[in-house]
Amino acid sequence: MSLGRPRSWGPWIRRCVQIACLALFILLFVNTRFREHVEPDASSHIFFHLDPLILAGTFLASYAVPVAALLALVTLAATLLFGRIFCGWICPLGTINHFVGWLRNRVRGIPDAPARWSPWQRTKYYLLIVLLVMAAFGINWIGVFDPIALLYRSMTTAVWPALQYAVEDGSTYVYQADPHIGPVHATRVTEPVYRFFRDHIFLAPRQAFLGGGLILALFAGIVLLNLVQPRFWCRYLCPAGALLGLFARRPLLLRLARRDEDCNQCGRCTIGCQGLAAPGHGNPWMAAECFACWNCVSTCNFQALRFTIEPPFRKRPVAGLDLGRRATLGAAVGGLAGLFAFRLSPQAQARAYHPGLIRPPGAREEHEFLQRCIHCGLCMKVCPTNGLQPTTFEAGLEGVWTPRLVPKIGYCQYECNLCGLTCPTEAIQPLPIEEKKRVRIGLATIDTTRCIPYAYERNCIVCEEHCPAPGKAIYAVDTEITTRDGRKIIVKQPHVDPNKCIGCGICETKCPFADRAAIRVTSANETRHPGNQPILVGIGDLEGTAQQGYGGAAAEQTGVSPYVNPYGQQ
């Protein structure tokens, strides 16, 4: 069954806007990468800042948002006036869902029976309530479900690396095997293709992320749900859509004008409806569910439906949004339950510190960090070494998919502060580079049972070579050891100076042990947590302690303050 020729240009204009917004999203995504001499600009944040759910969640959780995030008020205002045009026209995840749903209908055929509004569409409002209640008590789990954060995280950690992996490893396989017939090599074709992608599409070395498979699976699940019903995510689950729905119950200017006398109740408008907003005969229009996609208007054979702009005092029948007092209360209680579940762990109560939870430099104290972090993965995208990885459970369920440095994969580049500069909510503070260099994010420890000059009778010192700290935090001591055959030889054994070590992790990355490094960085001594500082740094020679007091001359010398975070935060 075909819906016939369109009766309105509305859908075509909407499609153009959708494609443009998705293209812009992808363009900004590709451009948000490490580029020397190019400071990241605010453009990479546009979609985040347009998203009122991110504004609401971050504000409720932390009472602090960047000024630019107030851009979301524009979205809210537009929603008040015209309904959920953000969902129907702007949201890139909405566009992907829309496209896949359209594809489904192309392949499977458009259903004959119109899909009815379902009470399950309220699910998204309850989810919103759960999230907002949690946020009000300081747990910002908004980003786990927010469509922009979710899409960005999935693109960064899964979709893009998978694409790059396919192109790069596929052509690399051909390159290494070099199949040819006489002088005709297969690489004559594959190499130009590979170079085109490398130089014009990917533009940065391939990244790989721990747990990226799970994120990919969840994202694929959301996309595949469109096969069950078009825009499944948007109709039933999206909490940002729910928030906009609350503001779109009775748009001040937009009206769906229905001329019942022209309607033959064919139901085509309802079949094409993206939001299950009951545009057709018999039920009042559910403005809170409507994406203003214009499909209903364009499919009506009798022009019985029109979107009109009318002054606020001209009322037309609109269905109310009845969430039910009991269910609403239940959702709020659910949010509280989630709150307690998250806060039950010893780590969430700052009684223990996860050694592997090395936060990027400038990351705030853990609670405050989690109140702001929206799990979007921007910091991981721009990290030039791929060292910033999504957590799974290192930060508890509360902090799932937040950034941590995994030094065996990549280190914190000494002269780089990009993660802080690109964080859309300043969960990672945008520290000036000189300040950033003084922040300790962890401490290196030498495993003498593996370290080559300790355990295997030969020199190595790769860690010392790479240490970027002024005067080097890793130093080698010529030490006499007895070999297996009884000879005395001198080897250079590395040691770590806690006064100088900032925990950047390049030692661990570069250690010749590729499985488990013989020098490893843990979160110990991180500047942001006085409770996690076993070593009194900055006191230099212990004998001088009495005269100097903590953090005396030696601290000035290293520029590292023993207790206090240089930005006033604990």
Binding site: Y414, P468, A469, G471
Partner: protein, 316 residues
Amino acid sequence: MSHHSRRDFLTHSARIGGALALAQMGGLAPFAAETPPAMAIAKWAGDPIADADSTALASMAVKLTEQALEAVGGMGRFVKKGDVVWIKPNMAWDRPPELAGNTNPDVVATLVKLCLNAGAKTVKVGDNPCVAAQKAYATSGIEAAAKNAGAEIIYLDENRFRKMALNGEYLSEWEVYPEIVETDLVINCPIAKHHGITQATLCMKNYMGVVGGRRNAWHQALPACLTDITRFMKPQLCVLDAVRILTGNGPQSSQLEDVARKDTVAVSADILALESFGVELLGDRPEARDIVAKAAAAGLGNPDYKALNPRELAVT
């Protein structure tokens, strides 16, 4: 900034070519004496230049490089018309020129120009750095300087290393970057630096930037591994940048007190001659000698650089 003009180059090439041709005809000993030396050391002898005077430092680096090259017979002795040349500086660290972690960008840019003037078709500049390449390339100043001089900047692609037979005593094969070995000439152009193990990192260690794989493991047997890669690379021309040198906390420091000025550029066709000159410059430590000795035992050159009668230039 003085340029090595095409005319200079042509005269030189003609002279050298003629001299070589005559010498080969035999029995013309007086002409053979005109064969340029295998090595030259250009030292600044003009007015002292302050560390802060970057313009004067740059023009000094250009002069030192040009005159050192000219003293060994000009770039035309090494570059043929239409050649593809790879200049391999030390461009491994995220350090600006003042901190002497990477080769002086003006030295590299001058080499690029000399190669192009000598008729090179393409001059490529690239390294396999120890930190993110974009950082090292940019911060070192080499990317901008070399590009400006007409070079093609190559970011090594980690997917395009290929295992090659080194046939060394110790390393039978290793991942090498094919694009480098496929060029007609590789100019090895390191900066003289202190190093934690070897006490000196110079030309031989600079070759660690043409290989990939788990190259860090080489540190357990540097003399053997560096000898093997040097043999494989068949060095023809090495240029040692000692305008600034790193005297401590090498191979990269973030403190200016580890940097010293030597205002010197040395050039040699014999890698070991240059290597031992550099070892001396950095305090002549036995660990550094071990590497040179090992390579000399393998017949890769003559470490007694004074025996080569290097031409010492006082540049003003």
